[in-house]
Symmetry: C2
Subunit: 230 residues, 2 copies
């Protein structure tokens, strides 16, 4: 189904002086030291990384590409848990089995790490252990912030939050290329594609963003967007 790359394929980045086993999320550098603990795998666009209901025995770090995690109800309703960009780690939640599927949004390479390998290694390596915990508490903080978006914010505010979040993660660049379609955004924000589309054009009419194409967004007035965020 998908090619399994060698460890070497991810080991091309230059070694750093003060190596961390785990990057902070939103840091783009793929640390080479992790390779001893995991395998590099490639996934095609829309390739399934793991399914809802499978044992949650692995962690994943995005090297290139992008990933979405999603939860499905029987009647087809979908909630996207998050999007993951290069340098970010997902699969931290311990469902046993998974409550979420994970799929590649684009051709993607992942570093795949077995949970039990990490656990036994962490028992001998306090720094790894601490980094794993830190990574998880940071993910938890981000997920809790998203609760406010889904529970209490208006459609316009949700879209503004989403764009600002993506911008910050993309290195504070005001030009964003969206790796996901409108349906994914809608399912992430608890809206419909139509509403997402309408809010995008509303933001454009307000002069806060520009839409050179449907997948490209330029933040023209990030401060005004932050005001919308509340």
């Amino acid at each position: 189904m998908y090619a399994q790359g060698s460890i070497d394929s991810a080991a091309s980045a230059p070694r750093q002086q003060q190596a961390k086993f785990w990057d902070a999320p939103y840091v783009k550098d793929a640390e080479t030291d992790l390779n001893a603990l995991g395998l590099c795998q490639r996934f095609a666009r829309h390739g399934e990384i793991h399914a809802q209901g499978e044992p949650a025995d692995k962690l994943y770090k995005v090297l290139t590409g992008a990933v979405r995690t999603a939860q499905l109800l029987a009647d087809g309703r979908r909630q996207i848990g998050g999007f993951y960009l290069p340098g970010e780690v997902f699969g931290l939640a311990d469902g046993e089995p998974h409550g979420f599927t994970a799929e590649a949004l684009a051709p993607t390479t992942l570093l795949v790490l077995r949970r039990d390998t990490l656990i036994s290694r962490a028992a001998r390596d306090p720094k790894l252990s601490r980094d794993l915990w830190q990574l998880t508490t940071a993910q938890l903080a981000r997920t809790e912030r998203h609760l406010m978006v889904l529970g209490r914010k208006t459609a316009l505010e949700r879209v503004a939050c989403f764009l600002l979040d993506l911008s910050a993660r993309g290195g504070d660049n005001d030009d964003i290329v969206l790796p996901m379609c409108r349906q994914d955004i809608a399912d992430y924000l608890g809206l419909t594609i139509e509403t997402v589309s309408r809010m995008m054009t509303r933001l454009e009419q307000m002069g806060l963003i520009a839409l050179p194409s449907s997948r490209r967004v330029r933040l023209c007035d990030a401060d005004a967007l932050r005001d919308l965020e509340e």
Copy 2:
């Protein structure tokens, strides 16, 4: 403001043969071994445990009572992140500073643990380290499940989920005593008090629950509630 109890005040539970430093969440027994790592504190009803914006340098384990964590927007909108019952741990999210306040729903005793104490202790104690991580991944899984509730479920489904969750955490008892008011439930579920109230009476009219009083709920048909959950 609030009385600071001695370590002993929480050490009255009988010692267990196979002691775990951390209970799994939803386990009610207050483990005595943790007392060496934290202090016992009491809080009055509606007492503030920590504020939004404070440094997130502590963890808390509920011994008696109940706690809510909440996030506020400037205009007063509120999202409750979770409710915590005896045996459960909160404060795991690493905001630095806190994105959430924590308040006692009722007279409450907590075991308060300094984060840096735990970290340095965990460096020498792989089991503690592993337990801390496990606790956090479990909390993350629960929070991600709540995303689906807030993003995609109807008002009736949200209330059904909430009642089933409380019932499971209360030891699978079909008689629930709600430690929180309607406003708290509403802010947890992303609804208004009126809608919560209407959904409660609707569930009652459907014969799925009984409401002997506003704070007491009996699940008459838990299976039908689970069907509503989807």
